[in-house]
């Protein structure tokens, strides 16, 4: 588009500004085990993605890897509102979505390396993850593609009448795809139990949202489609969990779909482990630095310590054990086998060789 000013005012009431005065994370509503679980997941996602970055740098992972480092709180918070009957779909940046549901790091790393033990039996790589046993029904990289699939999961859930929800994660860029709007309208008109989770990281690859949309607040689409909407601090695990829980509960009770806008930022570039300072349109070192200061992990750690929920020692120990888990998983994944050649034709159709 023509060069609209990228300094246009934000409609997000501070959420897009990492230098705003922060309200501290309010851990009051959750018990110790849950909070420890949140932190475990945050660590696991963070370190697993850092490991993926290493595998890319070492030339072992060839598939495009989109890291969500800095955005982990979204998936952790959302997953807290879900149960085993719900069906979750992701996109190109879905390591966190898989892991936050309880996904296995070894399977993830094996998949990233194209190995048979991977989540998708080595047929997908980083951008195509699967974990049905967890309720993770699949992620694929075509932007916006899984949004209507989650609506279909909502139809299924409505027919079953068991209170399940369909969930999809997508980015701010995906809301520029028509299918997002068609899906919101369909879900709204049918009052389907669907949770639309927009990770608004203010960028779509190299482009700032202000270069692509007339406002940086994705929530306005929820208003237009008459969908219950919450815009929250996406770097606050608890805020995300609470908002997700509200919307999901409403949906389970027949109140129709919800749109959760979690405002966040990715520390790394669009694809691969670099920070992409040079290539972005307004992606300055100072922006990244400012966002790193509101990193969801230290923020949750401070809150846990301030509230005396975990000691520094416990946290350090947890960190160590997660790091160890991931190193071991990586070593195993590197050594694992590739799929056999016949998979190429055998998997085209379900149940055996194409005939």
């Amino acid at each position: 588009m023509t060069d609209v000013s990228v300094t246009r005012a934000s409609d997000l009431g501070g959420l897009a500004n990492p230098a705003r005065p922060l309200s501290p994370i309010d851990v009051g509503a959750y018990d110790d085990a849950t909070l420890r679980h949140f932190l475990t997941l945050l660590f696991r996602i963070r370190f697993a993605e850092e490991k993926v970055g290493e595998l890319v740098e070492r030339g072992l992972a060839k598939a495009p890897c989109h890291l969500g480092i800095g955005q982990e709180a979204v998936a952790v918070g959302v997953s807290a509102a879900l149960n085993a009957r719900d069906r979750v779909f992701g996109g190109h940046r879905s390591h966190s979505h898989y892991l936050a549901l309880g996904g296995d790091v070894y399977k993830l790393l094996a998949e990233v390396l194209g190995k048979l033990d991977g989540t998708s039996r080595g047929m997908g790589g980083s951008m195509h993850l699967y974990g049905r046993e967890l309720g993770f029904y699949g992620s694929v990289p075509l932007v916006g593609a899984t949004i209507p699939l989650a609506v279909g999961a909502g139809i299924a859930a409505q027919m079953e009448g068991q209170g399940a929800v369909g969930v999809c994660y997508f980015g701010d860029g995906a809301t520029e795809e028509g299918v997002f709007h068609e899906s919101m309208n369909l879900a709204s008109a049918m009052r389907l139990p669907v949770l639309f989770v927009c990770e608004n990281n203010l960028f779509s690859s190299h482009l700032d949202i202000n270069l692509r949309q007339p406002s940086d607040r994705i929530g306005r689409y929820g208003d237009a489609h008459v969908v219950n909407t919450r815009s929250v601090d996406g770097n606050d695990t608890v805020a995300v969990a609470k908002a997700a829980n509200e919307l999901v509960t409403h949906a389970r009770n027949g109140g129709g779909p919800g749109l959760l806008e979690a405002v966040t930022f990715r520390h790394r570039g669009h694809v691969g482990p670099k920070e992409d300072i040079d290539v972005g349109v307004r992606r300055r070192q100072s922006d990244i630095d400012a966002w790193k200061r509101v990193d969801p992990i230290p923020r949750l750690i401070s809150a846990l310590r301030d509230a005396n929920r975990m000691t520094a020692g416990e946290i350090a120990q947890l960190e160590q054990s997660v790091r160890k888990e991931i190193d071991e998983a990586a070593t195993r994944a590197e050594a694992a086998a590739y799929p056999e050649e016949r998979a190429l034709l055998d998997l085209v159709y379900i149940g055996g060789a194409s005939k």
């Binding site: 989540t119 075509l142 593609a145 699939l149 609506v151 299924a156 085209v348 159709y349």
Partner: protein, 328 residues
Amino acid sequence: MTVRATYGEAIRLGFEYLMERYSNVFCIGQGLWSPWYVGNSMTDLDHKFGRHRVIDTPVSELACTGAAVGASLCGYRAIVIHPRMDFMVLAADPIINQAAKWSHMLGGQAAPAVTVRAIINRGGEQGAQHSQALHSWFAHIPGLRVVMPATVQDARDLLISAVLCDDPVMYIDDRWLYDLSEDLPDVVERDLRSEKPRVLRSGKDVTLVGSSYSTLLCQQAAVELEKQGIDAEVIDLRVLNPLDTTSVVESVAKTGRLVAVDGGWRTAGLAGEVIARVSESLGRFKSRPIRVTLPDAPAPTSKPLEAIYYPDSQRVIEAVQETLAVAR
């Protein structure tokens, strides 16, 4: 016990069979609560099975198709209906980038057992955006199965096989066939993976290959040709993807002559594929094979242009005569 039905009614019988027996089957698409969108092929299904199982939709081909794919990943067998193939172009992504690829791309674990019903609804001066027969596009896409019934029985039975198949299937019917009528035996559920092209009429002089309405043209031509002492074998492809041309090759090995008839465009279309397959297998014909297809032009509206646009059985007959002009 047989029952007399038209092609349109047979489709409806297929839906009824499925929805009565399988509670996880549902239909979604534009016009399903309307008496006119899909001819008589779904009349009153919404009243019989409820509007929660026969869902009329907003004008959102992309999301509705994607939703059908999504529901099919969750254990349902959704049938998404596109009253015109032209509009379905807007839903190409969930069909070819999603449904066709999820099994392969996710290691054979995710089976969107969706059925995409695409209706060819042409003629009647509707013009270029309301007439397309794009089956060749979908025959080109691995991971998708494509069926095109030519007979009344197949109209019912291939729909049933399509919906019961674990893979994504495109079921393409043609409004020009809706008035065909036939006695139907009871339904026998058949595994789509075993369904193949079928020799509808055997003959020794020339092989005519068609699918859907083109098969009807071949049959009509064969009847006429018989009067002229020409003995045509007619093969109905039925399943375009994955395409098995074994029987076509065997037939041409016998007759030496091939006329491939198709209701789509000529270039890079189905009729060319048939000729290519036979050429690859046999390397030679008694006389040059011929395609009878649409010309490479969008559908016109004006009456005299429509009249020359769509091939008829006479064109098939002429093609046969041309292949026979070379000494037998």
